[in-house]
Amino acid sequence: MVYMETVAVIFGGRSAEHDVSIVTALASIIKPLELTKKYRVEAVYIAKDGAWYWDDKLKDIKLFTSGGIQDYLHRAQPASVQFDGGMMLVKASGIAGRKQTRKVDLVFPAMHGTYGEDGALMGLLDMTGIPYVGCGVSASAVCMNKVLAKKVALGCGLPVSDYMSFHKSFIERDASTLLKTILKRLTLPLFVKPAHLGSSIGITRATSETELRNALEVAAHYDDEVIVEEEVPNLIEVTLPIMGNDQPKPALLEQPMTKPEDFFDFDTKYLQGGKKGKGTAKGAQGYSQIPADLPKDLYKQAEELGLNVYRVMGCSGIARVDMLIDSKAKKAYFNEVNPLPGGLYAHNWNKAGVSNVELVERLISFAKERHAQRQSLATSFSTNYLQQF
């Protein structure tokens, strides 16, 4: 019998993007992985309270859409994970107190936002020493902090729009002074964002001082760090999914079909299927133009910028780089990086000629390649340091 590698898809988590993660895992990862018939796929769900569950029943989207997950969580026993010599899933089998176990060969993280996409899960997986799909600890942590990501990009000479960042305590302590400071340096309209959240959660476009004050409070409600960015004039928003390790390859530049005042908030992105109130397609697939309708040189400029951002952030596996283009000045600016794009941005990869099955297979192969590279690195060396004591 041919040995089938066990791939654990980890999703859910203690994040505001918990629900988006469920759709990413079930629709864009588990289903195509099972279609390959090469892997034993284990669904590992982290509930909102942080408890882990491992069960084939968790592969059924209806369990989540029907609300049946609450009853399931009430009945099911959480699973545990052992890290001795790799990663082992453990749960009660229901037969005479026996345990059911499964050794995991590779992890496919499908987590968005905090405690998952931000490097926390990657740190845990690095400790186990098993390969996993996507960006590593440091790239994930930098990408998921919009302030840090901008600083890295700026440090590497990549263009970013003007911005300021503040700790929550500044906003709570003296909002009036803060407003004056911001408006002295930046010009309305401004985008106010929580520094660490994705999926457009907590983002406001402020066009007046009052809106700015309220927007700061909203962002600080979600995060302890807030970023305020100047709007790029004559704006065209584009996003570029990229895949690979040392030689990253882009998919197609994608252009959301919105006006600046109608920017992608969470509802537009995930609940309305596109342009507000007019979307017909469900989810994130129906809202944009692929490839973006840009002059050739501007398309090339944005693609280059996206690839450069991917490299300087140290991304591996997959990521998506968002950029802002001033169409009159013909200049592209880096906006942010998403180290695990919702749904892997499979719709874009499909248009670029990569099927969902191919996409997950390539990602697994990149994960193994990076793991092999890391295994070859020296992590210890002999010294006589202790003997000197």
Binding site: D71, H74, G202, T204, T210, N214, E217, V218, H221
Partner: protein
């Protein structure tokens, strides 16, 4: 859009230009339920529709609230958005009861008030209240042996069958109890704002009799009964409802 009001992350929709009109949805509903009405009115007015705490995308209140708390919340929302008093307030169902209470407390001081199938007449159906009470007490005793979740599901089903909204949002059970205890007929009697009452002929939840009661209490009010419509009169007969409101606000 979002704003922090009373330390709660609050979602609201604001569209249009002109005099401010505030929409207040009913129990278990949200701003989305009034989106059609909002869209029609934005042609002439600036229309603010808010998800009240515990509904839609607005956070749950941290304690059990009554109508007074909700009224102050709406007042604080307007202040936060730096609005003056609205030209008109339109409240549906429990949002209507809230509007009456808010006007009475002077949290809202509109020039026009529209009550769509407004609840808040709490004493006119003692038989129904008695039935619900008997079912509740009996149900509690009979289902004690059931697991908590099963018991909760059964309770929800039974309350729904009696037409009670108490467990529509289970987390707001205590808030619901406080709210439905508040009879706003006294507040209605003190209203001196031009008021349009729109009730649906086939409304099982809030009968036309409640509309008649308010009509008798609110001086100079106008009562319109819309045929072939249920409790969500603005959804069942949108054209008729919008036409009545537009004419009244003009």
């Amino acid at each position: 859009m979002q704003v922090i009001v009373d330390d709660l992350l609050t979602h609201y929709d604001l569209h249009g230009k002109g005099k401010l009109v505030v929409l207040l949805h009913g129990w278990g509903d949200s701003a989305k339920g009034l989106a059609g009405l909002q869209k029609e009115l934005t042609v002439q007015y600036r229309v603010l529709s808010v998800d009240l705490p515990g509904f839609g995308s607005t956070q749950m209140p941290k304690t059990a609230w009554d109508l007074d708390d909700y009224a102050r919340f709406v007042e604080h929302l307007l202040r936060k958005l730096e609005f003056q008093q609205p030209y008109a307030v339109i409240g549906h169902s429990n949002g209507g009861a809230l509007a009456i209470r808010a006007v009475s407390l002077e949290c809202l001081q509109p020039q026009r008030l529209v009550l769509l199938a407004a609840s808040g007449v709490r004493t006119n159906n003692p038989t129904r209240r008695l039935i619900i009470k008997i079912i509740a007490k009996t149900g509690n005793a009979v289902t004690l042996w059931l697991p908590r979740r099963r018991r909760q599901a059964l309770r929800k089903h039974l309350y729904g069958a009696t037409g009670s909204d108490m467990l529509v949002v289970p987390e707001l059970e205590d808030t619901f109890k406080k709210t439905v205890r508040q009879d706003v007929q006294g507040d209605a009697a003190a209203i001196d704002v031009p008021t349009l009452l729109i009730y649906a002929a086939s409304d099982d939840a809030v009968p036309v009799a409640d509309g008649r009661q308010y009509h008798s209490l609110i001086k100079g009010s106008r009562l319109e009964v819309v045929k072939n419509a249920g409790h969500f009169v603005h959804l069942d007969q949108p054209d008729k409802t919008v036409a009545l409101i537009k004419e009244f606000l003009a």
